[in-house]
Symmetry: C2
Subunit: 221 residues, 2 copies
DNA sequence: GCCGTTCAGTGACGATGTCACCAAGTGGAA
DNA sequence: TTCCACTTGGTGACATCGTCACTGAACGGC
């Protein structure tokens, strides 16, 4: 039983008894890349705390269009799961493992017990909750008021994780921004013409990140 | 001390001791129409449960543009307040009393106590929480993928509360949808030409709601 | 009535979304 | 290997939406 709790700063102040119960009654699970962890209409059975990997949460509309809402990274819990667990409701969006994922699975009953017994656990859960709501507000503001070229530049910088390269099709980038593929194609074409990126099928190389950053910094100007 | 608890279906199953503590330690307050109840950067002191009236929660961008996120009606609690209370963070949006409001104010300390002691109270709070997240997802999907004429028709139907009339400027309707005033002016002009509405300064009369509903029903077609 | 302010209407144009279609790249099957 | 189906990306035409500049009407205080 590894002491994974140290990986979650918010859980370091957990009361010893609660901490013990948490490690005893939860399991560490592995989920392969690409797995649909939850989807609309499904009922959540466990709260997941991510140890390794990344989960993408997205909304899928009737017309088949997709938009990425947020990502859950290592050290975080999934807010949507929390909401559904607490309200005893089904999921309204979809969660997909973007990488291989290792996570702590806390069964619903144990979660209820921890929430009621531990102030520290509640703080951990609901701090994440609040941040996520703020994130969603930001997503709404961006979609409503921000130009796509600026948002695309920001997203490229955001998705580049030191690799200076992004593995994604134009269609996937469109889903990130909630726009159409053609728009992404044209904007990336423009970025390439300016020498900021180089494209090949399925990958985008960031050549001049500073250039992208200048555009991204224009923000709500 | 009136027994306002009966106005909240979710609180009817409250444990007697908890119920007693709640009525003793909270106060009923009155807030006049137009009051800014909370705003960005403010720290929440009380959780409000609305007895009467309506609160509008909206995001205000740097450029001064506004977008309505959701409304809190009688019988509901404000999710954003809950989030901020639990996470000990400041507000990221703005709440305005759209009507005169009567509400139960639960101090932060009492809220923490109730959340930890009562399963029923937690369910009450977090069911609202989950619904609101789902609402926000819907707002995102609408802004990203839905045509404005359809959204405007839906909003007109939504805001008409039996009065067959809406008191709002074009600017305010634009904020409801996160679009520009000019767009609303043109769409409402088109609606009027079709005989669905009649306009005068500051008010919109819904003449043919069935017509609006036909348009609104097109949805993600 | 006068006047400043708010509200609504409009044309022009740029930005974005939609549709239709084509070309190139990719990988599996014959 | 060649062939073929599928995925990915590129592009023009057009519709919708957002922005800008400006106008005039309606309203409220004086």
């Amino acid at each position: 039983m590894p002491d994974w709790i140290t990986q979650f700063p918010g859980l370091s102040r957990l009361e010893p008894a609660v901490r013990d119960a948490l490690t005893r009654k939860s399991a560490v699970i592995a989920v392969p890349k690409g797995t649909v962890i939850f989807g609309p209409g499904k009922s959540p059975e466990n709260l997941l705390l991510l140890l390794e990997g990344r989960v993408r949460v997205q909304q899928v509309s009737e017309g088949g269009r997709e938009i990425v809402l947020y990502r859950v990274e290592a050290g975080q819990s999934c807010v949507l799961t929390t909401a559904c667990l607490l309200a005893h409701e089904d999921y309204s969006a979809q969660g997909i493992a973007e990488t291989d994922v290792r996570a702590v699975a806390i069964p619903r009953a144990v979660f209820d017990e921890l929430v009621s017994q531990s102030v520290a656990f509640r703080n951990f859960i609901f701090t994440a909750y609040s941040r996520r709501i703020t994130d969603l507000f930001q997503v709404i503001e961006d979609i409503a008021f921000q130009r796509v070229d600026i948002r695309l530049a920001q997203k490229l910088i955001d998705l580049e994780r030191g690799a200076r390269q992004i593995k994604a099709t134009h269609q996937q980038m469109a889903a990130e921004l909630g726009t159409a593929r053609e728009v992404v194609s044209r904007q990336l074409g423009e970025f390439q013409r300016r020498g900021w990126i180089r494209q090949s099928r399925g990958t985008i190389d960031l050549v001049d990140i500073a250039g992208l950053e200048r555009l991204a910094a224009l923000d709500a100007g």
